[in-house]
Symmetry: C2
Subunit: 340 residues, 2 copies
DNA sequence: TTGTAGGCGTTATCAG
DNA sequence: CTGATAACGCCTACAA
């Protein structure tokens, strides 16, 4: 592999000039630039990214940290897939690298080390939740004022940057939709409470009911963990409570699909016996039988926005490392599962 | 950020010793090692990955190159999700970094540049197909004898490393399954022909039919592009040919689902009017109505295997950069769509 | 078992 | 506009 010195010699300039040309820095005579570029092409020379990073003291990478659980193929979920695509879009357009990192959700992840070892210049944390081990890691990051952003998960710490969707409002609208169709007995199958968005969904659910004076009924609140299996497992309980239910709001599409499959297995006819409104508008939503009325979340946009904000902070000289706090809107997609 | 020099001073050793301790290289007195580790901890020191890479002349990254098409969120497909998860598993266990790279399928991607700029030490190419622009890129890579591997796509060039699944056999078994149920009029909705696995499916389809003496009928061969939409579009044609069909073999789950939705929209009752066997066993397969009989492909394993093989070549001193050529087996998963 | 010292390919600062 | 020349932090023979 040719290096800068050889190019300089061939072009008859100094090494510094070669660097200037290839980095497009400073004013330079057209003729010398052409000579350098030509020499570089002849020698098949390109800047060595590692050496550049080293000299600059920056890796040029945006880290994307995601929970890793053996046997659970997380990418397969719509949530991660879309977020990652959005981040990829931003990273690509800004000329950064996208480094994928896996963490064990059960232990404290040493985010700081990523920066100390200079593997990343900034990072985005996906799938974080409010369990103690994770909070420790995130808070450390915040205290150090390092450039990072958590996706769709609130933390008490005001120093924690976040890009999220407005799940309180999204849930409110979902439940309101059912109410507007004339149903009053509305259950709720929520996901794991350690996710702030689960809590937000509960708030939205409550607000919608209270607004029209429907008494909250704790006995028709169910809990799963956002997996399809957990939805299926909830089916028997929901089936038992069917006389108390006109409809049910479910925290995500996967659980809703599992629930519907379970109920159908128990002899239910959907949506006749129970109206269902889900959440995410993943690919599976329109595949489901009946197709799901669901809340569309702009995951792709969220990922892109987070990445763009972070990388801007890194690039712009003026912009300080300030806390990011964005909340995007959701949209209700009406299909058959909520009745016609 | 503390650096090696400070640690060396605090520990009262030379910088070289600090490196040795942190890299676990060579014999050393326990006491000096302890002293160094203690000093490192006190100063919050960790090896600078960029500097290490620079000194070693290697990035320590495995690149994963995938096609990038604006507005098409590729990760959302089961295929990419699983492969990436598998690769992640291997990379993680080998201590490498996983760099995600996006290429424009329409133009020649300069893989060589990835190595020249030292952004990656090896790479895995996902979603490649036999269109001229892509072949040029892949062949360049091969000529240079660079460590890389193409996923699930054959090229004529014997220097191209590949990890694939045996789609010829998978398809054979799928079609055989239908035949064994007593059906003879078996159509085939295949995906785009520029993928070698499409060709392989056709081979398997033919072999199964020929083996039992069923005449090949070109008029019941259909083509889509592996998208759900293309399956839906094929529905009208298939519907028209329904009298010529007992069953249909479909190149992937997404097309099969689109096809079934389209047929149902035209008034078909499935699987009564048409038996369907699909391919991939993606998440959607069991969600479909009726649930899909489909060929399970070990994408996760394929990704892991490719990454492990490549990284081993990089690590092991003895193993030369040799051509990888692996073919994993598929498995038929029987559900309702093929009848009972 | 440990220290010494050269080198890795840039960037960036300072002259000129 | 261009050339010299220190860093940058670590790895690795080679020497001791």
């Amino acid at each position: 592999m040719a290096n800068r010195k050889e190019v300089a010699k061939l072009a008859g300039v100094s090494e510094a000039t070669v660097s200037r040309v290839l980095n497009g820095i400073g004013p330079m005579k057209e003729s010398t630039r052409d000579r350098v570029l030509e020499a570089a092409k002849r020698l098949n020379y390109e800047l060595n990214a590692v050496a550049s990073s080293f000299a600059r003291g920056k890796s040029g990478n945006l880290g994307v940290v995601l929970p890793y659980v053996p046997k659970v193929h997380l990418f397969s979920t719509y949530y991660y897939s879309e977020l990652l695509s959005g981040i990829g879009e931003a990273v690509r357009s800004k000329g950064y690298g996208l480094l994928l990192l896996f963490r064990d959700p059960a232990s404290v992840y040493d985010y700081i080390s990523l920066y100390r070892t200079q593997r990343v210049d900034a990072c985005i944390v996906l799938g974080a939740s409010a369990v103690p081990s994770e909070m420790v890691g995130i808070n450390q990051l915040a205290e150090e004022r390092l450039p990072f952003c958590v996706m769709d998960q609130r933390f008490d710490n005001p120093l924690v940057s976040i890009v999220a969707a407005d799940h309180e409002q999204g849930s409110y609208e979902a439940v309101k939709h059912i109410i507007n169709k004339g149903y009053r007995k509305i259950g709720f199958l929520n996901g794991s409470p350690q996710y702030s968005n689960s809590q937000d969904r509960l708030l939205g659910y409550r607000r919608a009911l209270q607004e029209v004076g429907i008494q909250l009924d704790e006995s028709i609140r169910y809990e799963g963990n956002y997996s399809r299996t957990s939805g299926t497992q909830a089916a028997s309980t929901v089936y038992r409570d069917l006389n108390k239910l006109d409809a049910i709001f479910v925290g995500n599409d996967r659980m809703a699909i599992g629930l519907m499959q379970g109920l159908r297995g128990l002899g239910c006819s959907l949506p006749d016996d129970l109206k269902v409104v889900a959440y995410d508008d993943s690919d599976a939503a329109s595949l489901a039988e009946p197709p799901l009325t669901t809340v569309k979340v702009p995951f792709f946009e969220m990922g892109r926005l987070a990445a763009e904000k972070l990388l801007s902070q890194l690039t712009d000289k003026d912009s300080e490392v300030s806390v990011i706090n964005e909340k995007l809107q959701t949209e209700l997609i009406v299909r058959k599962s909520s009745g016609n």
